[in-house]
């Protein structure tokens, strides 16, 4: 239960002389003056002015803070495109085993055979699920995977002597797509979507010239629809000499159902923190492993895990590799959790994950569409996008009002105002780890909200500790750290 007295910042709780950790006294060189070991001009006059707290201070502070969050462990969290599924406890315990958590990245390979075997198997599994056999586990997040794959494509084209400079992505894509293109040194070009959320083929064709490097597509797309034109798109893009990148954000819909490599993708990333239940951690960490065709494999970052008979090793001898996109091997802890999740399900289980995710989404769509129109139609994959545009026009109730009021009903809000192509969008992704009862209760809450007055809704949420924080003030006069009052 929330302690309502606990509203101070750590620095406000601080009292000189308190200390939460006491380290041992030095057992060596105890009598030397520090300035005998470090030149005086390098030494600080005083230690950093961090807060001074006892351990119970810190524990109570953070425990109380935690009670101010909605989370998957406590609430239905249908945040579209984020796949907020249940995070299994067994994965946490395994990732915390000393034989995982206490491995140093520069240990010798002979002391890492168990972990390397596991990581090798992760490479194999991701290759199998994607249908793209060359894998890099290095990228640290989905956006980082996109960027890494685009660098890989750039190296591939450079090696082939083709100066290709354009990366295309649909207007419904995540903002990371064009941002990654720019960071990788490409020109980002936006392709229009049609009214039903599919790629506008005519517009795509008009951009397919000798400068096209990569077409980035999210399929299933951000409306939760599988773009049926995929075969045609692949033919067009490949025909122009370009590559297809699949943003794997929505893989939860097609595990064991369809493989990106089989429907035209040359490269893709996985979001293990979504699809394979690594927890989201309040905004990270994730991981962004990428899978590519054999032709692109030599350009992937180094190292990758290789196998010689029964021995596993890190392969750095890859002369065409783009190099490194981060320090050390990768987000191993996240990959181990993903491995546990995948092995818990096995081949049939993974397929069932997607089936149940799609069933839940379709059921919820059909409950919601009578309350909020779903412009894309009666069917979806793992998520769908409802629109409050009509409600806004008729009653002045916006997507934001609905989102805020849902919090009072004990539900996390869906993703709102994304994709940009749907007005007053509410993007809803229930995931497979929710019950029919929860989905019914959510639909019921939506219905009751739309019956409320717009005026009352503008004040929502009313049950939370704070409501409608002033974002304008925060952005106009940024206060981004605690400062000592004068």
């Amino acid at each position: 239960m929330r302690n309502r007295l606990a509203t101070n910042l750590l620095s406000e709780l601080s009292k000189p002389g308190r200390q939460g950790v006491r380290l041992p006294n030095p057992d060596v060189f105890a009598d030397e003056s520090l300035s005998d070991l470090i030149p005086r001009e390098q030494l600080a006059d005083a230690p950093p002015p961090l807060p001074e707290l006892s351990e119970p201070d810190v524990v109570r502070h953070y425990t109380n803070l935690s009670t101010l969050n909605m989370s998957v462990d406590t609430h239905f969290y249908p945040l579209g495109s984020c796949t907020m599924k249940y995070n299994p406890k067994r994965n946490e315990r395994i990732a915390a085993l000393p034989a995982v958590a206490e491995l140093h990245p520069y240990q010798s390979e002979r002391t890492l055979q168990g972990l390397l075997a596991l990581l090798y198997e992760v490479q194999e599994i991701l290759a199998e699920i994607s249908g793209l056999p060359a894998v890099s586990l290095q990228p640290a997040a989905g956006a980082h995977g996109e960027f890494t794959a685009l660098l890989t494509a750039a190296a591939y084209f450079r090696d082939k002597g083709q100066p290709r400079t354009k990366v295309l992505s649909p207007d419904s894509a995540h903002g990371t797509n064009p941002a990654s293109a720019m960071m990788a040194g490409f020109e980002a070009v936006t392709i229009r979507s049609t009214a039903n959320g599919q790629v506008d083929l005519e517009h795509l064709k008009s951009e397919l010239d000798e400068r096209i490097a990569v077409f980035m597509i999210t399929n299933p797309n951000t409306l939760g629809m599988f773009d049926r034109q995929m075969g045609e798109i692949a033919k067009l893009v490949h025909g122009a000499g370009g590559l297809i990148y699949l943003d794997g954000a929505n893989m939860n819909a097609i595990l064991g159902i369809a493989r990106p490599g089989d429907f035209g993708a040359d490269m893709m990333h996985f979001n293990p923190h979504k699809t394979f239940s690594g927890p989201h951690g309040g905004g990270g960490p994730g991981a962004g492993p990428i899978c590519v065709t054999p032709a692109l494999g030599p350009y992937l970052p180094s190292p990758i895990v290789a196998r010689d008979g029964e021995r596993y090793r890190l392969d750095y001898d890859r002369p065409k590799s783009i190099g490194r996109v981060r320090s050390f091997f990768g987000n191993t802890g996240v990959l181990v959790r993903a491995y546990c999740y995948i092995r818990t399900h096995g081949p049939e289980g993974l397929k069932r994950v997607s089936e149940q995710a799609v069933l839940n989404a379709n059921y919820l769509l059909n409950r919601v569409k009578h309350i909020l129109p779903v412009p894309q139609g009666d069917r979806c994959m793992h998520e769908f996008v409802a629109s409050a545009a009509a409600l806004k026009k008729e009653k002045g109730i916006s997507a934001m009002d609905i989102a805020k009021r849902l919090l009072d009903f004990g539900f996390h809000a869906p993703t709102v105002y994304f994709p940009l192509t749907v007005p007053e969008a509410l993007m809803i992704e229930p995931t497979e780890t929710e019950s029919k009862e929860t989905l019914d209760a959510f639909a019921e809450a939506l219905f009751r909200i739309t019956e409320e007055s717009a005026e009352a809704l503008h004040d929502a949420p009313t049950s939370t500790l704070i409501r409608r924080p002033n974002e304008v003030q925060a952005a106009r006069h940024p206060i981004v750290k605690w400062t000592k009052p004068d």
Binding site: L10, Q19, G20, P24, P26, A30, I38, Q42, L43, P48, L50, P51, V58, T63, T67, T74, M84, Y86, N87, P88, E92, P98, E102, L103, H104, S108, T111, G114, A117, A140, A141, A143, T176, A179, M182, I257, A258, G281, G283, G284, P285, G323, R324, R326, S327, N331, T332, G346, P347, L350, V358, D378, R379, S435, P461, I466, R467, A474, P478, W482
Partner: protein, 456 residues
């Protein structure tokens, strides 16, 4: 399927509501030609017990830092993690939540980010911090990109050779497709050659990237390097070691414009390379060029102090191809762990930590490099790491023998510095005891004696 709910009756009722006859029918939008006609070829499903046993079997093939005495460093260190860090960070309300898009139900995470930013500023002396990046290497390259953007048209990036070799590789990989020149300044006896640096920095230089204490553990002439950069209008990006700031001057005092670090050392497990967190803090004027999330203080409709994500127009979801970076996530959970760690340590804990590292590392250097073929490669003051040269140039063999005797004794440097083929890097944290250091010395020096005996 341990994590799903729907019973056959539920499925039937749901299908009926949808108006479909089977679950398979829901996949009709996926063209037939693309559908898999065989099961995935991956290992069979394992129950929790079997999974745990399977992982235990795999784990037994690893040797970890709880079984060997760890003297490995190079950016990742075996520091002590207080139990409260693990206990608090394993609260589901923290680790199963996501980016605080709805501030009303995310005040816990938002305040935690704000307090992280506050403590990073207290630690570094810098004005502003973001909510964290992926890791030290990507934080460093993001600082380089910030410098290039801030100093429009400057197209030269100068990197000291004593910066972590993998960070340098990351910079090169990121800049490969841009017309930016990356110039590396060699070291002279373990620290950056100031005269070569002064010659290289010109009015085309966007930034100088310095690591202090550097990859070899040596203390650089950071203030002098800042001055060299600033004289030509270039920025100083300093890669710092957070555990050093209890005793060493902070990046602000040394003149850094952007300070970046690998945050693993602040209460985070080594976990074979990640996940960690990248720390990035800067002077005020760069706040709108910072990549990643930033939490800001404001007031709620009722007038209470509260927190939101702010300055979001920098980010990819609004600015798309013109964003400061493509980064979407931060390392929330690891920023949280580091905040808890810093709050527990406080000023005196950080001071003790820094002192212990210096004293123990110096003791270890004196023990290892006394009366044997081993010697310190660089005669420069150092913090918690130092480079050892093996006069007989048999580093690999030596480290293997150390390993057999129960020690992760050091890191070979040849793979990054071919001229240091006879050298290895030793790190000593507060966890290492006199007995462990003495034992390492006995093993390495003793090994040598044995070898010498055999030769004789």
């Amino acid at each position: 399927m341990p994590y799903t709910f729907n019973t056959p009756a539920d499925v039937a009722a749901m299908l009926q509501a949808i108006g479909a006859t089977s679950v398979e029918q829901l996949f009709q939008q996926v063209p037939e030609a693309f559908r898999m006609t065989r099961p995935l070829q991956i290992g069979p499903a394992l129950g929790e017990l079997e999974l745990t046993q399977h992982l235990a079997r795999l784990s037994s093939l690893n040797a970890h830092a709880g079984q060997r005495v760890c003297f490995l460093g190079g950016g990742c260190y075996d520091h002590f993690i207080p139990a409260a860090v693990d206990a608090l960070a394993s609260r589901g309300e923290f680790y199963t939540s996501y980016t605080p898009y709805q501030p009303e139900v995310s005040q816990g995470n938002l305040q935690a980010i704000f307090e992280y930013q506050s403590m990073i500023c207290q630690l570094t002396g810098m004005d502003v911090s973001n909510a964290s990046l992926y890791d030290g290497g990507t934080a460093t390259v993001e600082a380089v990109l910030m410098s290039i953007a801030a100093l429009d048209r400057r197209r030269k990036v100068i990197v000291c050779h004593t910066v972590h070799p993998e960070f340098r590789q990351v910079i090169e990989t990121y800049l490969e497709n841009f017309e930016t020149e990356v110039v590396t300044i060699p070291h002279d006896g373990g620290t950056t050659d100031l005269s070569q640096l002064a010659t290289a920095v010109d009015d085309q230089t966007a930034c100088v990237v310095l690591q202090h204490p550097n990859f070899f553990g040596c203390l650089e002439q950071a203030a002098a390097i800042a001055e060299i950069a600033h004289r030509k209008g270039a920025l100083l990006v300093q890669v710092f070691d957070p555990t050093s700031l209890g005793i060493l001057k902070n990046p602000r005092q040394l003149g850094a414009d952007i300070a970046v670090a690998e945050g693993q050392c602040l209460g985070n497990p080594m976990a074979y390379g990640g996940p960690y967190l990248g720390i990035l803090a800067a002077r005020d004027e760069f706040i709108r060029r910072m990549p990643g999330r930033i939490a800001g203080q404001t007031v709620g409709a009722g007038g209470q102090r509260c927190w939101v994500l702010t300055l979001q127009t920098r980010e990819q979801h609004i600015r798309r191809d013109k964003a400061t970076s493509n980064i979407c996530t931060n390392q929330g959970l690891f920023a949280l762990r580091s905040s808890i760690y810093l709050a527990l340590m406080g000023p005196s804990g950080m001071r003790q930590l820094g002192e212990l590292c210096v004293r123990k590392a110096n003791y270890a250097a004196s023990r290892l490099c006394a009366k044997s073929r081993l010697e310190r490669a660089f005669d420069v003051p150092f913090f918690k790491e130092f480079v050892v040269r093996d006069g007989d140039d048999k580093v690999a063999r030596l480290l293997e023998q150390g390993e057999d005797a129960g020690f992760f004794a050091g890191i070979e440097l040849e793979r990054w510095y071919p001229d240091l083929h006879d050298c290895f890097l030793v790190a000593v944290t507060e966890k290492r005891t006199r007995a462990e250091i003495d034992a390492l010395a006995d093993v390495l020096v003793g090994t040598l004696r044995n070898t010498e005996t055999v030769h004789a």
